[in-house]
Amino acid sequence: MEKQLSPDEKLEALWQGVLAPKDPQGNPLQFQSPEAKKAYQERILRFKDAIQMNKLPDRVPVTIFPSMFPWTSAGMTVQEAMYDYAKCAAAFKKFILDFEPDVQWLAVAPGPGKFYEILDYKLYSWPGHGVSPEHSYQCNEGEYMKANEYDALIQDPTGFFLNVYLPRVFGALGGFQMLPFFPGILEMYGVALNFIPFGLPPVQNTFKALFEAGGEALKWIGTVGSVDGELASLGFPALLGGFTKAPFDVIGDTLRGTKEVMLDIYRQPDKLIKAMEALTPLMIKMGVGSAQMTGHPLIFVPLHKGADGFLSDEQFKKFYWPTLKEVLLGLIEGGCVPLPAAEGGYSSRLDVVKDLPKGKTLWMIDLTDMGDVKKTLGKNACLLGNVPSALLNLGTPQEVKDYVKRLIDVAGRDGGLIVCNGAFFDQAKPENVKAMVDATKEYGVYN
């Protein structure tokens, strides 16, 4: 029998994997120079030491985790970045080489515009489809899961997604409504009856759209994904292994919608909790599986509806945190580093979320006071953030430098800090973004 690795061993295997990257053929990656190889490994270890909080890295790591900035700053529209994959890849590469952050977060943010068209994606508006060319895609909130569908989700989440949810958010996946009940495919007697839907035109049309969409996705990742190897060979590592979500946000963001999930807290709290419990193992599996597939340890967990002002303390403790905590611990158990992004303010949540195992998570902090975070959550978790978008947009390089210096003094003197933007941004003054990186390299050296 194969030996079971402990969570720490699984994680260490991922770190060792990124430290010794491979090319697409599976051979050791050829670095473009010995200096590039050295820089690549130093950058990874800098992040690893900051996250694990066992020893101080050589300096405070710095990174840029933008949304559309790499493309808007290259003078492209978001539409171009979404439809011209080669241009998207080239601009991203130039962005990393110009700004020289310690870690890059992949060129995948714009995504493949054509792919969304093929599947008639209704969940988002994007340039040319409800949003102007220069603006980012945005979510169309809606009640994509009805109030009376909790039982269906709870009993069989995958079946609910296949038969009900996906046809609602992708116009071209209507044929999925007719798919058979797969756990009913058991014996030879009658087995063929299950496959009748695949002979019907709506299902066949859906599969045709899927083949086309799959081809487009492959074409896109073949282009934007090739940048990772190039950047690695030049000394810039990627650590992002995938993403997952807090079960409350899964329901509140894209299934029921904000208004409806808030009503469910009063109208059907037990079903809401049961549904979140049903989603929890799936959200763990999603993150762990994707870390294993990509070989990268960090699993991004954007946090939305638990921020200050959305829920009361009691509601946060009852509805939001228990399943999120389970997801975070499950990711750690699976050998990943969860990277929850506390978007907005999180002051009122710090005392609830602070007691996670030390050195196992990395928290992106947006508007919360970093001094407060450091004294609570920051005792156990490395913090990433929190240079404000307004400052990056409208400040001067000197103001950015001053901010970074204060940030390091307040939250980084004894480790556990990675300097970064606090929120995902599309626009900024390039010289301010550069100042954020340079100031960290200048002030962030540990003696």
């Binding site: 949003v131 102007s132 603006h135 808030m262 959305f310 829920l311 009361s312 409208l394």
Partner: protein, 210 residues
């Protein structure tokens, strides 16, 4: 019975609130009495939100209860006189941005604090703000935005209001997402509100209400 209705709504007992409203309507209570009770309850909800005991779930549920109760008395609604308001506010999420959670909270809180609110929705072009100011003649304009793109849209909206010769007719407040006083200055607005309560205070100050 209207006291019980106020309490049921304010305490988030939806089933009981609707039952009471139906009973009152069936028993011949004037629609005005039922709606006044609902409005009084909204004031309490707003107060509790302001005090930090109520949050988004309560605001949403209160709004739902109000809608359902309005439906119950609707046949008579046409006869209702307009209630007295302290002032008028035009509000909207600026061009290019379709986020509305924060804006809706501000609208709700302005409404329960006695303002007549004209909510233009999301992705509102500057010209639409200008037209609304002309038609509705508010004292206050609220510009909301979540994404960084909103910074320029806010600036563009204020410029359009200025170009239309309406800048000195209104006070403009901005808020949402990454917005702060730096953005206020950049956009040329009069103030930045950190949250819904700040928005209400600004509006009250500007219309000369305590």
């Amino acid at each position: 019975m209207s006291k019980e209705l106020v309490k049921a709504i304010a305490d988030m007992r939806e089933g009981e609130a609707l039952r009471l409203a139906r009973e009152m309507a069936a028993g011949g209570s004037p629609p005005m009495e039922i709606l006044n009770a609902a409005r009084e309850a909204m004031g309490i909800v707003g107060q509790r939100y302001q005090e930090g005991t109520y949050f988004l779930p309560e605001l949403v549920l209160a709004g739902e209860m109000l809608n359902q109760i309005t439906d119950i008395v609707k046949p008579e609604l046409a006869k209702l006189p307009e209630i007295k308001r302290h002032g008028k506010v035009v509000i909207g999420t600026v061009a290019g941005d379709i986020h509305d959670i924060g804006k809706n909270i501000v609208s709700f809180m302005l409404d329960v604090n006695g303002f007549q609110v004209h909510d233009l929705g999301v992705d509102v072009p500057p010209q639409k703000f200008v037209e609304a100011i002309r038609d509705f003649q508010p004292q206050v304009v609220g510009l909301s935005g979540f994404l960084t793109l909103a910074f320029d849209s806010m600036k563009g909206t204020v410029e359009a209001i200025k170009a239309a010769g309406l800048r000195d007719k209104v006070k403009i407040m901005v808020g949402g997402g990454q917005v702060n006083d730096k953005i206020q200055e950049y956009a040329g607005a009069d103030a930045y509100g950190k949250d819904a309560m700040a928005g209400v205070s600004l509006a009250k100050k500007w219309v000369g209400d305590k």
